[in-house]
Symmetry: none
């Protein structure tokens, strides 16, 4: 079944709002075996007409978001009804809902609000728990020259759309699509290998399976290998994929590096401390994004100044003077200090030059030393260079540091 | 000039990745007087062909993202070249760049990586500072039946696309679009006032100007007031807007709270330390995102455990036992300790319950105490409750803490 999505909203095209509906709907329909084949964003107003006419001949299912509100640029309902030749009729239950909401919020009812109670003949009203404009489901209409798809008109605000989608649209879709049980999407999150290396290592071989769809997504210092196919086949292939990816596999599905680390430490009953210079707290931030991090993360030190490296971590002033604050020995001393001060099992430390200034020919902007230390108390040091903008530098530095930490934890 | 955007990427339609390119590009082109008229998302692979053919007749400018990488599903470059009838030629400078990057990162060069060095005849190479695949600008090609638009092919990963767009695409677009001098979009970033309060305070009055387009964007703990109009009018209105918004105005344009804080401290020659429990390093991360933060940010302590609050910040164990770790007195003691240990002028501290577990009837999930302290050494404490998911809680907590800090700094 061909499913398309049309998002209406001038704010999406101006860039004031990021479109999160596409990703939300894409994820929500996948378990039904449905995939969005194409998505279009058009501005508020009459542009929806051309987008609908363009999509009708191609689609079996069409989901439109936005343009159902009370203002003059909200035209989705009227244009859809006109194209399908369906007269609009006042729906008393929707009218009652709008009046009730206005009373509750102390708003005066305006005539244009009741426009939202006009429903195309034959449409099914989708109740809006968080707003006045109902959603609408319009079954296919056949004309001599074309048949319209199953058409869903949904409100634009995410907090109105999401519960409506979950509770009312998905059950309707379930009736429309043939059963696709036994089909799934599995993702493998890989670090330490580039996209083409992953393809060469395992992707081409997987691609040879006629039932399998193989895809890749490159993220900062990470590649996601995505497989869509029958569950029995995914299960059958898993052992060889795990073997080939080895320690480069961070995890599967939605699990991030920080999730993997917190869960591994929790399972082992071990603890962690961080000492960050150039990553500036981002490693601590990522670790503490994981629910339950407090059980394993004892403390984090953002030691930006030399003095704080000396005082808080016990890094010898002479070592900083001799080697420079951005150096392997200082990174190692920071990791040792962090572990000792916190009394943790593991520690990770970063020191580097995020830029845009502060570089030298010997230590250019992007230079970073990462040290990880485990229960054996012997720090390991890694020297990397990520010459990029400041925020990306911090992102990839935290990613690399967490990966070295993850590999270290795996050793125990 | 009609501008459209095509985003390719199966992961966008599956919902694994949220499309942030549309909003980024929409914002970036606005100052040139350009607006995106239509945007389409299609999967990786051959679907790009139909999307291009469909868009060509309508567009003057067409921006395509994704599908330039080394894997077999990356076909944008090949299909565009074929449609325009342009043979592909190996570009030695791109080849050299790919080899150089692989050498630097210690990756072996694979044949398929060099596909990325194949450039359609007549195309302009857009250098990729953060990846191997270059962007491409293809000037219009005329055929007997149609003329192609100015076509930009850009890489999918945001950290590759953004600097390329800023440094290379915008200057090219500037040459292509007629001058729109005298017209601008100004944003005022406001905290401490809701959207409708901002509208009542100043928005309705601004809306009465026929030359002005007024918009709002609500973000976590912040409202952006957006004005589009002639520069002379924006300048004329500025003083009264500044006066009405007063200390609730964080800054204008893209300047974030953390930028304002770092610049204010720098100007005054003063310094800052942080002590974070529930915000887990996010405040430090935001502060260190600002170039030059090292001049003012002495250190940050992520004191997640009680022990680390005692040891690192000198919070009395008895105080924690008596008041609880999540309490006003502990927040104040953390701020005092952070300032004293670092020897800084200002300090900010957070302690709270991010959830999803750990709440009690007295201190529900979302509870947070924020303390700020300045040169006079007297900590102020604020009690807030943000009952939401963990990541949003950290975001709004850091936003509130930075705002209290900002207001404190303004006093000096």
């Amino acid at each position: 079944l061909n499913l398309e999505v049309i998002n209406t909203g001038t704010e999406l095209l101006l860039g004031n709002v990021v479109n999160t509906h596409l990703a939300y709907i894409g994820k929500a329909v996948f378990p039904l075996g449905l995939r969005i084949e194409r998505q279009v964003t058009v501005p508020d107003g009459a542009a929806i007409r051309r987008a609908l006419l363009n999509a009708f001949p191609r689609c079996d299912l069409l989901i439109v978001t936005g343009g159902l509100g009370p203002t003059t640029d909200d035209l989705t309902r009227e244009i859809a009804a006109e194209l399908l030749g369906l007269p609009l009729q006042l729906d008393p239950s929707v009218e009652e809902h709008i009046q009730e909401r206005c009373r509750r919020r102390g708003f005066a009812i305006r005539d244009r609000m009741l426009r939202q109670a006009m429903v195309p003949m034959g449409a099914r009203v989708l109740f809006n728990a968080n707003g006045t404009a109902p959603g609408l489901y319009l079954p296919p209409v056949e004309t001599p020259s074309w048949a319209s798809p199953h058409l869903f008109l949904l409100p634009g605000p995410p907090r109105e759309l999401k519960p409506m989608f979950q509770k009312q649209v998905l059950p309707l879709l379930e009736h429309l699509v043939p059963d696709r049980a036994g089909y799934a999407m599995w993702s493998y999150r890989v670090v330490g290998l580039g996209e083409s290396a992953v393809e060469e290592l395992i992707g081409l071989e997987l691609d040879a399976h006629p039932l399998l769809e193989v895809g890749y997504c490159a993220r900062p210092n990470e590649v996601d290998l995505r497989l869509i196919g029958p569950v029995y086949l995914l299960e059958e292939l898993e052992p060889q994929i795990l073997e080939k990816l080895g320690p480069n596999l961070v995890g599967m599905g939605e699990s991030l590096m920080e999730d993997v680390i917190v869960h591994a430490l929790k399972e082992r009953g071990q603890t962690l401390a961080t000492a960050e210079s150039c990553s500036g707290g981002l490693i601590g931030h990522r670790i503490t994004n994981v629910p339950g991090a407090s059980a394993v993360y004892l403390q984090g030190l953002v030691t930006y100044s030399n003095q704080s490296k000396e005082r808080l971590l016990g890094v010898p002033a002479a070592l900083i003077a001799q080697e420079g604050a951005v150096s392997g020995p200082v990174a190692a001393a920071m990791a040792e200090g962090a572990r000792q001060v916190a009394g943790s099992d593991f520690a990770v430390a970063t020191t580097g030059i995020a830029g845009p200034t502060g570089g030298s020919p010997e230590r250019p902007v992007g230079t970073v030393f990462i040290s990880v230390i485990g229960p054996d108390g012997a720090p390991e040091v890694y020297h990397e260079c990520f010459p990029t903008d400041r925020e990306t530098f911090k992102q990839v530095t935290s990613q690399a540091a967490l990966d070295y930490l993850r590999r270290k934890i795996l050793e125990y």
